[in-house]
């Protein structure tokens, strides 16, 4: 097991290095616009642009730039400075990470609490009214774009601009440590909006997977051994059926930690996603590079954790 983990971690590192190299290729070698001009601003003089080109090292050979870039990332986790504000990218990312973490963890808990029970019940009560209704509702939520759902819930339920003044609305996020109650209240709507689609997808995936699992021979064997149905479902059915859900969960959480762009923008939550969105709009390459590498890092970590979890969940899976 330890060997397996070490191998996965090593591959993860290789993958991050590859992603870093690709971001260098796209944003430094093949940029959509001259980074020195973007950094200098719209009306800057040729002298200023030349000075910035020198400062950014853009006059140096490409391989020198590449090694310098990789060294800064790997040894110092330094992504440079924002073209727009001049602030260090790492500082901006650190500043935004707690909000994204808060949003992702809360939403993930909600969609698991909603999606898994609904998926199990639908599978067990297959064909019943409950199954049809829950799958129908799931289909509706899967079909709703997040930005649309976000605006609708704000215009319906936000305390300041909503029809029914129930929840804190956009622009109310505060850090957990500064005011826990307000932090919780401000994230309720975003959590539900973000969780709605995922919960629907998870319930549908789990339903299909569990229906298939419940038809397997080992389930029949378990029943023949006289095990209680609940134990059969949980210990033998769900445990094996949940692996595809776990795979999606790893990818989803990893991707969301890299930034829930739309949700953060609609609710004005100052997280990685909004940082990335603004940077893309402004062609602020260092921030885009930093957030892309961060997203890749989270996805790699989440997948390593998921792979390790397989062994505990599914007895058929063993690593060597």
């Amino acid at each position: 097991m330890a060997t397996y983990i070490a191998r996965r971690v090593l591959w993860g590192i290789v993958l991050i290095i590859l992603v870093s190299a690709l971001t260098f290729l796209f944003f430094d070698i093949l940029p959509s616009a001259d980074p020195a001009v973007l950094r200098a601003g719209r009306n800057s003089s040729p002298a200023t642009i030349a000075h910035i080109r020198q400062e950014l090292g853009l006059n140096r050979p490409v391989y020198t730039q590449f090694f310098s870039y990789m060294k800064n990332i790997i040894l110092h986790f330094n992504f440079g400075y924002s073209f727009y504000s001049g602030a260090p990218v790492l500082g901006l990312i650190k500043d935004r990470l707690p909000a994204t973490l808060s949003l992702t963890v809360g939403a993930a808990v909600i969609w698991l609490l909603m999606g898994i029970p609904v998926g199990i019940i639908s599978a067990i009560k297959r064909g019943s009214i409950l199954d049809r209704v829950s799958m129908g509702v799931a289909l509706v939520f899967v079909s709703m774009p997040v930005f649309w759902l976000g605006l609708v819930v704000l215009f319906l339920f936000a305390k300041d601009i909503g029809r029914f003044h129930v929840f804190l609305g956009a622009n109310t996020y505060v850090g957990l440590t500064s005011n826990p109650a307000r932090w919780f209240g401000s994230l309720l709507l975003p959590w539900f909006v973000l969780a709605a689609t995922s919960a629907a997808i998870y319930s549908r995936v789990l339903r299909g997977s569990l229906i298939e699992a419940m038809g397997e021979d080992y389930i029949r064997t378990a029943r023949a051994k006289g095990l209680r149905e609940r134990r059969v479902i949980w210990r033998h059915g769900v445990r094996s059926a949940i692996t595809p859900v776990l795979t999606i969960f790893g990818l989803d959480v990893g991707a969301l930690l890299g930034g829930a762009v739309i949700t953060e923008t609609v609710f004005n939550i100052p997280g990685i996603g909004r940082l990335n969105y603004t940077a893309i709009v402004q062609s602020d390459f260092p921030i885009v590079q930093g957030t892309v590498i961060l997203a890749a890092l989270f996805i790699v970590i989440a997948n390593i954790i998921v792979d390790i979890s397989y062994a505990y969940l599914d007895p058929r899976v063993r690593y060597s």
Binding site: S32, L38, I49, W148, G169
Partner: protein, 618 residues
């Protein structure tokens, strides 16, 4: 349960439908709904439908109440808070409340300069302008002090240092070359050397702590004094800022900041703002500057605190401001919100005409538009009213008819709202008969282009760029051009295509040049002065390089009599129109919304943005 879900679904559907009808058809619906108050001139140019009291020039500067906290919601972030680097309207809004340049415009005037840190406006009569306009003497006020942690009194050396650092590449000031350095019509003595990158300058003397003497290489006092209203002339303490400027880029303004105005960005005891009063992309907090002396300033500074919240969806922000308390929206208001506010909350919206302009640049050096008559035909064919509608209708724009826009000196002399009375300018809805006339004059007897060349139109893909590109494409096609429209990211349009002459882009819609100050030079010189064309980051997208126009500009820049100066630039404007170096699209009017308990004051000179040192709560 099913029933209640259906009800919710129905409610959501109705809400969506209502939202769509409110937002949709922005072009036609907004113009028709607001047409009641609009007047039409003889040339068919419609004036904005402002109600009495909505005009920026009529606003009350007296505050309603002292104290309180204003919340400012802004979709976009600030770019530079350092007065030496700042160059955009949002940044100027902060600097107006935190810094004291030598001269300023009061919020209700776009054209009347007044002393700020200086004691008087230098004139020949008061001895401030001597040597035929080559020497300017400015006296500054006593009793102005820097905010903590600097705390000491401001001296003339602080102003000199602030101006000189404009040439420091680590500061990257955008207008130093144009008004003070080598690119200026009247540079400061010693500033034109290629090796000059800040530091003591021969052209700036400080004989004592309250006097500055500026020496210019040419007699350009009028423009130079106007340029001293820019944030670069706000004093800075060298002992605090100098070490920060050694960093590339400077960390002054991003990490540390001190103030001289009534407000300061909340900072720690070392003057650090980042992570305290300023969190890039998130928030900013202005608090009172404890060292500000009201007796030295014309700003009343009613508010105790101003909190900026950055980011969010523009339609949500609009609703929050209109339905909430003590808040304003800082940046451009969504068209659907403008319409809603105008119809449902008329006391919570105002407009500032003269907030800018847009035009379609035509490459005068290459391709089909090298021919002046094809340029005139393009002008005649373009439906400028359609562009106004695409921008949100007559509430926020009127058809452009020339290049000096309302609120800039020389606008009236250049033709006012109707513009020069040439036939290709007359019909703002587009006139294909006139277009055909000029195509014939260009050598196409059918009245349409019959050549093979493709006309490349590059436009920013955001906002109303695609809609305007379509209107431009229609005009080009109407005169027979083989137009190819390329939609690219806005920054890519600037830095890779339209601002790079060798790319030979035939037409760039949605260009514009916002005034740096009320002088017409600041809207015509950079975008149309031939000798200023550079290979990258070029501002003269039309590549206008007519020797007669260039000569007239160089001469007009040195005229110091205000009336003659304005007339000279108005004449240049007419020359630019005659040569059709670009096609005016619209004159902008900025819409601002605010909560019902806010007494707003907007800066007529700064695109109509809120003046936080005059705005108050009711």
């Amino acid at each position: 349960m099913r029933g209640s879900r259906n009800l919710i679904a129905l409610a959501v559907t109705l809400l969506l439908a209502a939202g769509i009808s409110a937002c949709g058809g922005s072009s036609s619906s907004s113009s028709s709904s607001s047409g009641g108050g609009s007047a039409t001139t003889s040339s068919g140019v419609k004036a904005p439908p402002l109600k009495p009291g909505e005009s920026i020039n009529g606003q009350q500067l007296l505050g309603k109440k002292k104290g309180g906290t204003l919340t400012v919601l802004s979709n976009g972030d600030f770019e530079h808070l350092d007065p030496g680097s700042a160059y955009y309207a949002l940044d100027y809004g902060i600097i107006q409340a935190t810094a004291r340049p030598l001269f300023s415009y009061p919020p209700n005037s776009a054209t009347t300069l007044r002393p700020d840190l200086a004691t008087t406006i230098p004139t020949t009569a008061n001895g401030g302008i001597t040597d035929g306009g080559k020497t300017i003497t400015v006296h500054i006020r006593s009793g102005v002090r820097f905010s903590p942690p600097v705390n000491r009194a401001v001296t003339s050396k602080d102003v000199a240092f602030a101006l000189e650092r404009g040439a420091n590449p680590n500061v990257g000031n955008a207008y130093w070359p144009a008004y003070f350095g080598a690119g200026s019509p009247a540079p400061l003595v010693g500033s034109t050397s290629a090796s000059y990158k800040g530091g003591p300058l021969k052209g700036i003397e400080t004989p004592n702590n309250t006097t500055l003497v500026f020496h210019l290489t040419k007699p350009g006092a009028a423009v130079f004094i106007s340029a001293l209203s820019l944030p670069l002339s706000a004093p800075l303490p060298k002992e605090f800022v100098g070490p920060l400027d050694k960093h590339a880029p400077t960390t002054y303004g991003t990490t540390y900041l001190v103030s001289t105005g009534p407000y300061m960005i909340q900072a720690n005891s070392k003057g650090k703002i980042q992570g305290i009063g300023y969190q890039p992309g998130k928030s900013e907090t202005l608090v009172r500057n404890p060292n500000w002396n009201a007796k030295t300033d014309f700003r009343p500074a009613y508010l105790n605190e101003i909190k900026f919240s950055i980011g969010g969806d523009a339609t949500v922000i609009g609703q929050q401001v209109l339905k909430g308390q003590s808040s304003v929206q800082l940046d451009t208001v969504e068209n659907s919100i403008v319409k809603q506010a105008y119809q449902q909350y008329p006391s919570q919206i105002n407009f500032t005409p003269g907030s800018g302009d847009h035009y379609l640049t035509l490459d005068t050096q290459h391709g089909v538009f090298k021919n002046v008559n094809i340029r005139r035909a393009m002008w005649a064919a373009l439906d400028r009213m359609a562009i106004v509608k695409a921008r949100g209708g007559l509430l926020v724009a009127t058809p452009g008819t020339h290049f000096i826009y309302p609120g800039v000196n020389g606008f009236d002399q250049a033709g006012g709202a109707a513009g020069p009375q040439v036939d290709f300018n007359k019909n703002v809805n587009g006139d294909l008969a006139v277009a055909a006339k000029y195509m014939k004059a260009a050598g196409y007897p059918s009245g349409k282009y019959t050549g093979k060349e493709t006309t490349l139109i590059v436009v920013g893909s955001g906002g109303n760029g695609p809609a305007i590109a379509q209107i431009v494409n229609n005009a080009a096609t109407a005169i027979g051009l083989h137009a190819k429209v390329s939609l690219v990211d806005q920054s890519v349009m600037y830095s890779k295509y339209c601002g790079v002459p060798k790319q030979e882009i035939d037409a760039c819609p949605t260009a514009g040049w916002i005034r740096d100050f009320a002088d017409p030079l600041s809207v015509l010189y950079a975008p149309f002065y031939g000798p200023a064309i550079v290979p990258t980051n070029n501002s003269n997208w039309s590549q206008q390089n007519d020797p007669a126009i260039n000569k007239a500009m160089a001469k007009a820049a040195l005229i110091n009599d205000p009336a003659a100066h304005a007339q000279a630039w108005a004449n240049i404007d007419k020359m630019l129109v005659d040569q059709a170096v670009a096609v005016p699209e619209d004159f902008d009017s900025e819409a601002n919304i605010f909560s019902k308990n806010v007494a707003p004051v907007n800066m007529a000179w700064n695109e109509g943005l809120f003046d936080f040192s005059f705005t108050s709560l009711k």
